[in-house]
Amino acid sequence: MKKNTKLLFLFLCVAFTNHLFNTAAYCQTIAEKLGCLECHRFSSSSDEKNRTAPDLFFAGDKFKKKWLVDFLQQPEIVRPGGFTLDPNFLTGAKIKGHQSVTEEEANQLADVLMKLTLKGFSKGIIDNIPLSKGKRAKSKIKFERTYGCTACHQAINLARKPRGGISGPSFINAGNRLQGDWIYDKLKNPRKYEPLSRMPIFKLSEEDFVSLTKYVLSQKKENIR
């Protein structure tokens, strides 16, 4: 019995290491083949500077899989002003669009990206219940006026048109793109995911952190008129 348990444990260990290795290796191969590594980092240990696109080693915590699959086939512009660390940022240079891949490649890549998660990332803080109409209106005022988020982030305004600054990532499709728990954590710890972020640090009440997160989650491009 004891021997069996030991064997099972050993087997599990080997299987787990193998799984990790395979995922990483596969990820590396496909990403290299498609040229992802030229702009994105897949590990926090590689060179922090000279990046021209966002980090992806926490893509599984950040993105919604369906959006990834769609985006990889038909890329939309997420950062209308470019990536903040790109040397061309603020120069007004034209934004280089993301390359597109086939449906099969998109599915494979999305599978791999969803496995890239951070240790200790807390899930389940933001539930699926959307803001009530009143709370949404209140959060809109906070987003646009009280905290001035709209100076750098595009969102959908009352006339259902995209409005706002372009130096930060656009939120007009954030509800389809991002996971609530990630928005919440990013808002709370803005330097955790990007130590060189250009965003101000906000110390808000827990209620505001949650309601602003849910407000961002309510932004979907199908609501644009």
């Binding site: 646009e144 100076a151 600054g165 250009r198």
Partner: protein, 152 residues
Amino acid sequence: MKKLKNSILQIILAIIVILALYACGQSQKEEHTPSPPITKAPPEPIIQEKLVSHPVTKKTRQTYQWYCTQCHGVKGKGDGINSPHVTVPPRNHTKASYLETRSDQELFDAISEGGLKIGRAPCMPSWGNTFDKETIWSLVRYIRELCKCEAV
């Protein structure tokens, strides 16, 4: 003995009644007088001394270039990449005719607490949690360098 017990009881009763009355009075008071708004500490008088001790350094310029330029532009002319998209145009920091009408304390408050708190545009977020006071004072100094002006 019984007398003593009675008098103790009477004293306790009296205390309870007094306390109850006092509590009622207080709660009524709270209902009628709204709590005062949180007032900011009055500006400290010797601003000039502070500015001298926080001169514009390489770090000040880097801070301005990294954060402020998104809206105020690389040269501070109010023409950053966000400027065409915000409801109120970002301030042109080279325009002396406006900036000389603002005190250093007002510029400090605008950076630290955001535009809305000082009755200006809400697009200017608060940076008080991002930069320390010394950095903000040196940014005020840098704006004075850009506008080549002082508060009148």
